[in-house]
Amino acid sequence: MPQLRIVVLVKQVPDTANVTGEAMKEDGTVNRAALPTVFNPEDLNALEEAIKLRERHGARVTVITMGPPAAAQVLRESLYRGADEVVLLTDKAFAGADTLATSYALALAVRKLGGADLVLCGRQAIDGDTAQVGPQTAEKLGYPQITCVSRIDALAPGGEAGPGDARARGSVTATRSIEGGFETLTSTLPCLLTVTGEANDPRPPSVKLVMTYKDIAAEAMPQYDDTYLDPESDAAEVCMIGRDGKPVCRARIVQWDHEALAADRESLGLRGSPTRVKEIESVVLAQSEARMVEPDEDGVNTLVHELIEEHILG
């Protein structure tokens, strides 16, 4: 039986749960530089599902992210958590992508890997909360999708039977959360699943893997950060200098730009994005003393009006 191939799509995101006043510029836009970045939480749930499936069925788990060079951090964390292979899509041509252009690049990357039996990703990223990249990647790959998955019930990897036999294709059964309930669906492979936080509690990074990379994380990482992105190479090694001064090479971060993907530039980045941001308005309130409102009709009317204007009340 050919080895099961699982691709996990992840994103490095600003930690929107901890936005402070400083994170907003005076013009009301977000100062991303002032925000710490994190591994998008539901993408960790997706990675955990992939590792669990590998434990049960055997699989090759490849993690892909698209972002600036610094997004390699989520790939390192993926390696600590047991990913077999990691791919960084980074290129100025990818910048400014909305979900349509992002899914185009991700789908090309999955294709370049030779496709997958399962593609997993978080339901949504906490910076945009769109939940669109998963279904749009599935559509471009021509894969079916099951979104909002809270549990993977069963996986039957493809068998040896001849082509055209449904069993040969394998199947996945998953339960998705819907309003006030759930539904269970079965899909043939390949299939793309978007996973919610309900699915699991992601295990912490493996002690063994962290030990493997300990010196790197502790000392050589910044130096490594500056040099690993060799524009001449599409396969930079995660090769860091150990405490003893010798290189420690454990895994590779494969790096692809738009040429590596043979992408149509008109479909990438801002150029390939139908949507434009017309306006951004900050709604961060400096937490201070309560604004006291008079307990009369005028005071209450003004307050309610303001809350509706600011989309706090529908």
Binding site: A23, V30, A131, P135, K140, G181, T275, P295
Partner: protein, 361 residues
């Protein structure tokens, strides 16, 4: 029926559509709410409202007049056994086919788990823009790089964990598509005297692709995903998912007083919460309790009525985006975590809030 406003450019042509979500012949409320807003947008643009309705058999067919009554001028009815339950692939095929054929300029979906499964797949198929989970929609102009675009759909939504409100446009691509959050648009009154057209959309189930532009052909490839089962539970108290929580504490004074808290919650489309003291007094059940020993909530708006603001209670609500505290005692600790405070008698203030909201909204 579709009329152009004087001198409007060609790009303004096309109707405003709502893709209606239905389960077992019952339309999702958000779909009906969207028909109301679609009506307003279509009025501004001088075009008609279309509703896409897919499903199987009499119960779905019977929905069409209700959609007309809520604002649809044309209902595109795709009635086929294969469409009994929502599935992403065949529904994407139906919606994409209809959009290509009729070229609406705007297509709206409810931001439900179904709408957010379907809309991105359709947007990708049509290679057009989509904005998720909008809380407001308007028509307006847009200028970029010296180019002016008239009558675009402003797709307004919170982003960045609710810290910003973004207005998104899709200037060059049609249709402009958005999913819209439930409960933010006003449900239109049903007007049984409205008239509209029901267009039967021919759907054919075939094992392989058939070239037939006149009908929607669903192939085996559209049914590689099958529904095993669907379970809808009784609606329980959903404090965690609530956008608005209205909580009462010991200051509410009585079970009757608590009815006022419940009425405010109902009016604002919110969920009733309570402090431990109110639960212990027996005015409300434990599943409503907010705080360390209850549920932790982080709604857009938390209204604390007659709650002094113990540390235990605050732990369960201080992450709310906005907090309004109403308390007789201007020195109550709850005001320290509140964004807005009303120092006054909640029995007088709550009716004022209800009245203010009903007249403004």
């Amino acid at each position: 029926m579709a009329s152009q406003t004087g001198g409007a450019p060609e790009r303004g042509a096309g109707d405003v559509w709502v893709v209606v979500e239905q389960h077992d012949g019952v339309a999702a409320e958000v779909s009906l709410e969207l028909l109301g807003r679609a009506r307003e947008l279509a009025g501004t643009l001088g075009v008609s409202v279309g509703a896409v309705l897919a499903g199987a058999g009499a119960p779905v067919r019977a929905l069409a007049p209700a959609l007309v009554a809520r604002g649809a001028d044309t209902v595109y009815l795709a009635d086929h056994e294969a469409l009994t339950h929502y599935l992403a692939l065949p529904y994407t095929a139906v919606v994409s086919h209809l959009v290509r054929e009729h070229r609406p300029q705007i297509v709206l979906y409810g931001a439900t788990t179904t709408g957010r499964d379907l809309a991105p797949r359709v947007a990708s198929t049509l290679r057009t823009g989509l904005t998720a989970d909008c809380t407001d929609l308007r028509i307006g102009d847009f200028t970029a790089k010296g180019q002016e675009y008239a009558d675009l759909l402003y797709q307004i939504r919170p982003a960045f964990g609710g810290n910003i409100i973004a207005t998104i446009v899709s200037p060059e691509h049609k249709p402009q598509m958005a999913t819209v959050r439930e409960g933010v648009m006003v449900m239109p009154e049903a007007d049984e005297s409205r008239t509209g057209t029901v267009v039967d959309v021919p759907v054919q189930r075939s094992s392989a692709a058939v070239a037939d532009a006149g009908r929607i052909v669903l192939t085996d490839a559209d049914f590689v995903v099958t529904l095993v089962r669907r379970v809808q539970k009784e609606k329980k108290v959903d404090l965690k998912g609530a956008r608005v929580v209205v909580s009462g504490g010991v200051g509410v004074g009585s079970r009757e007083g608590f009815a006022l808290v419940e009425e405010l919650a109902r009016t604002l489309g919110g969920v009733v919460g309570a402090s431990r003291a109110a639960v212990d007094a027996g005015w409300v059940s434990h599943e409503h309790q907010v705080g360390q020993t209850g549920t932790t909530v982080r709604p857009k708006l938390y209204i604390a009525c007659g709650i002094s603001g113990s540390v235990q209670h605050r732990a369960g609500m201080e992450q709310s985006a906005r907090i309004l505290a109403i308390n007789n005692d201007p020195l109550a600790p709850i005001f320290a975590v509140a964004h807005y405070g009303i120092a006054g008698d909640l029995h007088k203030v709550i009716p004022l809030l209800i009245k203010a909201y009903r007249t403004k909204a």
